[in-house]
Symmetry: C2
Subunit: 487 residues, 2 copies
């Protein structure tokens, strides 16, 4: 790997070439693009705009300074000085042969010449090329700037040093190289996609299901599973303590059943069962089934909570369900309001084995949102252009909170006049143990000017009603205090 | 739907029956289990333990009070008073017939009698049953308490009111009913699973890939995609502005290629292409392709960040990559330390169109973790039984922060002696604009006793070095202040 250079040549723009360009640029590589399409620059810049808003968001540190992007007039210019050349031209073998010949003619001997093809095997691409040893397939998945999988497929004629350097560079730009040890039509992943696609065509043709119903069958079920454990780890967990060998061997008879149009099946011989069971052991026997179940569940919960943020797919189901079980607003009287009650998810805990500090604020912020709903600063109010912004927060931690604890959030309005709303929160376990207190100053704002202003009369009068009911309550312990002040 | 009763009968325990029991119980239903297996109670309680730690974690409100679980000696007793009966006995038609006969003999006329079967069509289950109209298939996906998908398959003999009530009840317990309009072997989702499984068997048998390589091909690529958009929405986005019809019609020739062992394929006629394109329009034409790309990317980032929390699958790739690009520790001198730099992800923004308040604490908490690494309170130190806990936090918000902004976190040690570590943070945009300040009191603790204690000598001397370097710096604006205090 030519570390010093860090130049990648992108031959063929479009969505795939653009995704490659973005992946390299955002990891600090310079990128030289050659594409005869006059729209190439526009297309790549659109992909790049998407990549800039999402790839860096995966990391808790800034990515390296972005590399330099240039568009050049020829393949030879693009390949100049490049440690990596990525070919993503149309899927026609004659075009690929011509382009690869131009690339290898211009490339240095150590340059990796990778093709994005899904349709051709590397040996097919190498036919007639004088420098075939530099060529291999590196098949990505759209969006290339986000999805980690990359199938690295050398042929027997590909140089070993080229294949090894390819995996190392791909890892260095955040990808997950999967070495395909024997070349095969469509490599590995696309064979599965093709099988699903063909089965899907039958279901649509036979009027069994629509595209939307098929997509629903995927996103609400096995898609979620497969984002975190594959086919075999999923079956391993399903098989439970009885073991993979036992579970798989039950499937023999079903292979003869018309459960798919794919009826050309191998016999599930003892030998094949043994192969599967021992490969599965090598893959996952370091974890118990119970451990895998919990990892699976934590992953599913985390992913579904992420989807929920976007009110999408499984996350939409959760949000809709939650709306039906949300408790009524509490009655306003001379005592703190019970604003929320919830269980602490695993994803909120940290390396100290307790809920991470940031989630205390998130917890009472949910309570605060419920308070805002109560006073009429709700979705419609926000849509009409006004809202409350938090301008100050103070948290005093009193006891640790662990995954699975159910906590209650109570709130007392300390100040509620004009644009100001100051609230004091208690986060308690159900037995009354105090975990933390929070003090929050909210300011009412106009969302167009982003400046402070008084709330609408109805909201103002709702705030006043709570503030008056709470006016006689004692000042909570910790209110108004600064960090490190003696208690 | 018999709202008043809310009793579910679970006939057949095991992983699937247990998952159903958990789904109903945690949604406030009473559950009556009949299973001749002497291990049934243990098996269900194990599933229930998993469900209790994960299902409530999906929601930001507490679920209803858990229902009552009872184990009874007969099917008739279990069915007593039940609005829902779920049959999950072994996949043999003679056993199913016998059990369903016992269920329908004891059930009230409005009771839904649902089977978890994947192997039989509802018309097969109904054969010879006097109350066939109450029977339908409701096929869940493991883990039943988390995955929303449920295939609802009536036969022509199933009563319409039963099928409708079934969907309504399933929705009320947080599931996503997918009505399968024409019964077919294996319903819909399992036909895809079966196709993938059969293709996988070939790859293993032919020595192309191991179980682990196949699972990697799934979890790092199309699994992530399919957790949030299915096959057809994914192709719609890939097709871009040229449209679904154009994109799909390109696939015709590939159907003749050996890209899977599934070689019995329908012709991709104009009629079939039109059907797919118009169904896809009905499904998603309310969004532009650009909009779908951004939704997709936000979903992928959110899910991968969730996986990262568990250092699992795609999340593990990100964490490993981040470790290679993490900047070095800053030099200690008489100025605030630059502790972190990062971009604001979309998932951190809220309905006000800016970063949600809780993430300010998360942001400087990451800075604080870097400071702890610097002073030697790192992974090894935590593993050896000591750490710092945050006991107090104060945030003053100064300016809004938006998705895509890159922020810099700086820190000044205000106090660093004995078990106390007090730090002041600035969160700034790259141009120096102040977004927020944070003040944090950390206390050094023994992780075994969970009580305060002095740090190890090396950590203590590292803290002292920074505290001394920062001793001459002016007290930052806002330090020591309480909420609502005049500036």
């Amino acid at each position: 790997m030519s570390q010093a250079k860090k130049i990648a040549a992108i031959i063929g723009g479009g969505v795939i070439g653009g995704g490659w360009a973005a992946r390299f640029l955002l990891n600090g590589w310079d990128v030289q693009v050659a594409d005869p399409d006059p729209q190439a620059e526009r297309k790549i810049s659109e992909v790049l705009a998407n990549a800039r808003r999402s790839l860096p968001a995966l990391y808790d540190v800034a990515l390296p300074a972005e590399g330099r992007l240039s568009f050049v007039g020829s393949i030879a210019e693009a390949v100049q000085g490049a440690a990596w050349v990525q070919e993503s031209v149309p899927e026609r073998l004659d075009i690929k042969h011509k382009v690869l010949a131009d690339i290898t003619a211009a490339a240095e001997p150590g340059t990796i010449v990778a093709s994005s093809t899904s349709g051709f095997k590397p040996s097919e691409l190498q036919e007639g090329n004088a420098k075939a040893g530099q060529i291999l397939v590196c098949h990505p998945f759209n969006p290339v700037y986000l999805l980690p999988l990359i199938e690295v497929v050398p042929s027997p004629a590909t140089r070993t040093d080229i294949a090894e350097a390819a995996s190392s560079i791909l890892t260095s730009v955040g990808m997950k190289p999967l070495l395909v040890r024997k070349e095969i039509d469509a490599h590995i992943a696309d064979r599965f996609l093709e099988a699903v696609w063909r089965e899907g065509l039958w279901l649509i043709k036979d009027g069994i299901a629509t595209t939307e119903e098929i997509d629903d069958a995927i996103i609400y079920g096995f898609g979620l599973r497969w984002a975190q454990m594959g086919l075999f780890d999923t079956y391993r967990v399903a098989g439970g303590e009885a073991g993979m060998r036992h579970f798989i061997s039950q499937f023999g008879p079903a292979l003869a059943w018309p459960w798919t149009k794919l009826m050309d099946v191998p016999d599930l011989t003892d030998e094949l069962i043994d192969t599967i069971a021992s490969q599965s052991d090598a893959q996952s026997a370091h974890m118990s089934i119970r451990e895998m179940e919990r990892i699976r569940d934590d992953n599913l919960v985390g992913m579904m909570r992420a989807l929920r943020k976007n009110n999408w797919a499984a996350g939409q189901v959760i949000a809709a369900h939650e709306a039906t079980i949300k408790p009524d607003f509490p009655t306003i009287k001379a005592e703190p309001l019970v604003l929320a009650r919830r269980q602490i998810p695993q994803s909120w805990t940290d390396y100290n084995g307790h809920m991470n500090e940031a989630h205390y604020l998130e917890l009472y912020s949910v309570g605060g949102d419920n308070l805002l709903q109560m006073i009429g600063s709700d979705e419609a109010y926000v849509a009409a252009g006004k809202s409350y912004f938090s301008v100050e927060n103070h948290i005093i931690h009193a006891a640790e909170t662990k995954q699975g604890d159910t906590v209650v959030i109570k709130g007392q309005v300390l100040e509620g006049q004009g644009k100001k709303l100051r609230v004091f929160y208690w986060i308690e376990l159900e037995d009354g143990t105090l975990c933390a207190t929070g003090e929050q100053m909210l300011i009412h704002v106009d969302l167009n000017t982003r400046r402070a202003c008084n709330p609408d009369p109805e909201v103002m009068s709702n705030v006043r009603a709570i503030a008056e009911a709470h006016a006689g309550l004692p000042l909570p312990d910790g209110a108004g205090r600064g960090v490190g002040t003696k208690r």
